[in-house]
Symmetry: C2
Subunit: 329 residues, 2 copies
């Protein structure tokens, strides 16, 4: 590549990064570390951080040659991971590594990450791009990221406030989010031999669009009511049972009523075509519920109204009883 | 692997993580995000974050079957990246991904990361481990990490305090640190056909020991005198010229005197055996200087004394003049 083209791409990436800088950001691009102030007026601030990757959804993006959505998947996934602790996102850092990451791919990846950051008024504080040809399969790359957010210590959610009688509010996912793609790829590409451009009625759209639908962020839907919640669980790998159990205190069980919400077509398609048991479906996929809030009955109306204003469907999908673990009723 | 063995390994990893928890840590293992308070009594706290990887030094670790040092490399690299902004490290998160990461490898990686965290009284706040067989070369893994630290806004170093007449204090590196390993591997393994167990007099030791020497952290050496510095530069990829230039304000040049410090044997070996030009050597390697502090002349004695107490050799290697860029004299 000639140097002028490289300069153009560097400028595009720098512009993407620059576009995310909030009033809290400090320091300058190209520094050794990224800097941010804390939001003003926050008593006893606690930092909440999470690192995550996109997993093999990347291989679908590669197959589709569409690299501008996985960055948003990553940011939204990370936002949800700290949102369940009541934290407001303030900064993000990315890690992009591969055998060789073409400049156009890198530009698209960073543009997607920047879009995700801007949607949360969060600064893209830094990142690392590494070309490691002997480590990665030729043409492949990996994408991971770290989020930092902040919450007042008294407002932080740990699960310890959950009590018998609380209700479970399920928030609609946008589809697969970023989990179960090893299984999805096997069923869709290897077994069903579908292409990304195929229109499949049972899926409700084109294969590529359904498989690359962006992981939904629940920030807008939940931020206004975080102080009304007793806990929240981001439904990722492990599904509803594997994640809900992470916020249950001793003596509390969660009873989830199957049928209380609409399971999106893609999951039914995968279950049937892949001949997957209900148990495995529940452990691998979110089944249409990307987030569960645990709230006292008197708060549920407000919790659902806030989600509705953000355009996210919710359902009361169960409740907390005495016992332990998660059971489906 | 049987489940009992897996449980044992999980316990070892959990114990490593647990061993890093400082008094600032909050929340519990297995939560969606890691939590930490800020150090008490810090006026106008600014967060400083950095993400980095270990690069192809990992391939040397793989070749040697020694996975407990690269985690420390990673932590120390990240510590230095925020230390140059005056920040105290408080938390770390790792990302480990590979085709398949054997449990023993994972345990060793996390043990190394935890050792690095403990050495800086920093909590291992979280991380992500991903098995992505279609992305990585079989048997390979990648390791990246993110650090979060904090500094009072008035104490943060950005480079803007640097002025003509300041001196450059160079801190001894422990060797290659984590840069230039593509070139190192080509020269040592492909061209010279050396093995990791070979004793090479010109290197001053066994090939494996020299190549896997842990990236030095300058925390102990610099923390006591951060308020005396005008700037600092971590010497990584890009070498002295590529990194020192990042903290020079307009109108200031840095003049570095070759010969002012002792260049370790490994660099001379690589230059001679690889027939590398001086210019390329300076751009790829640290040449024995892992960190450069820029300080006013009256502070240099205290700066060097603090390093001496931490067991790190230093040299005055140059000065700030009017002009621009970095030049070797």
């Amino acid at each position: 590549m000639d140097l002028d083209a490289l300069d153009g791409i560097k400028q595009q990436i720098a512009a993407s990064v620059q576009s995310t800088r909030t009033a809290l950001a400090l320091g300058r691009l190209g520094a050794f570390g990224g800097m941010t102030r804390l939001p003003p007026g926050l008593a006893d601030p606690v930092l909440v951080l999470s690192t995550d990757g996109v997993g093999t959804k990347l291989l679908v993006a590669l197959r589709a040659g569409r690299h501008d959505t996985v960055g948003e998947d990553l940011v939204n996934h990370c936002v949800n991971d700290i949102l369940v602790h009541g934290a407001r996102p303030i900064g993000f850092l990315d890690y992009i590594a591969g055998s060789h990451v073409p400049a156009a791919t890198l530009t698209a990846l960073v543009a997607g990450i920047a879009r995700g950051c801007r949607a949360h008024e969060m600064t893209l504080l830094g990142g690392e791009t590494a070309e490691l040809p002997d480590l990665y399969q030729p043409g492949h790359y990996d994408l991971a990221g770290t989020i930092v957010g902040v919450v007042s210590e008294g407002q932080a959610l740990h699960g310890d406030r959950v009590r018998v009688g609380d209700l479970l509010v399920g928030y609609a996912s946008s589809g697969l989010h970023t989990n179960g793609y090893a299984l999805v790829r096997r069923i869709v590409f290897d077994e069903q031999r579908l292409g990304l451009e195929d229109e499949v009625d049972e899926l409700g759209g084109r294969v590529g669009d359904v498989l690359l639908a962006v992981h939904r962020s629940y920030w807008q839907a939940m931020a206004p009511v975080l102080d009304r919640l007793h806990a929240a669980a981001h439904i990722t790998g492990g599904g509803i049972p594997g994640n809900l159990v992470r916020v249950l205190p001793a003596g509390c069980s969660a009873v989830v009523r199957r049928g209380a919400w609409t399971v999106p077509a893609v999951f039914e398609f995968l279950r049937r075509r892949g001949r997957i048991s209900d148990q495995e479906m529940a452990r691998v996929f979110n089944l249409g519920i990307g987030m569960i809030a645990i709230a006292p009955p008197e708060a549920v109306e407000a919790v659902q109204a806030a989600a509705g204003r953000a355009g996210v469907a919710t359902w009361v999908i169960g409740e907390i009883q005495s016992g332990q673990g998660v059971e489906f009723a």
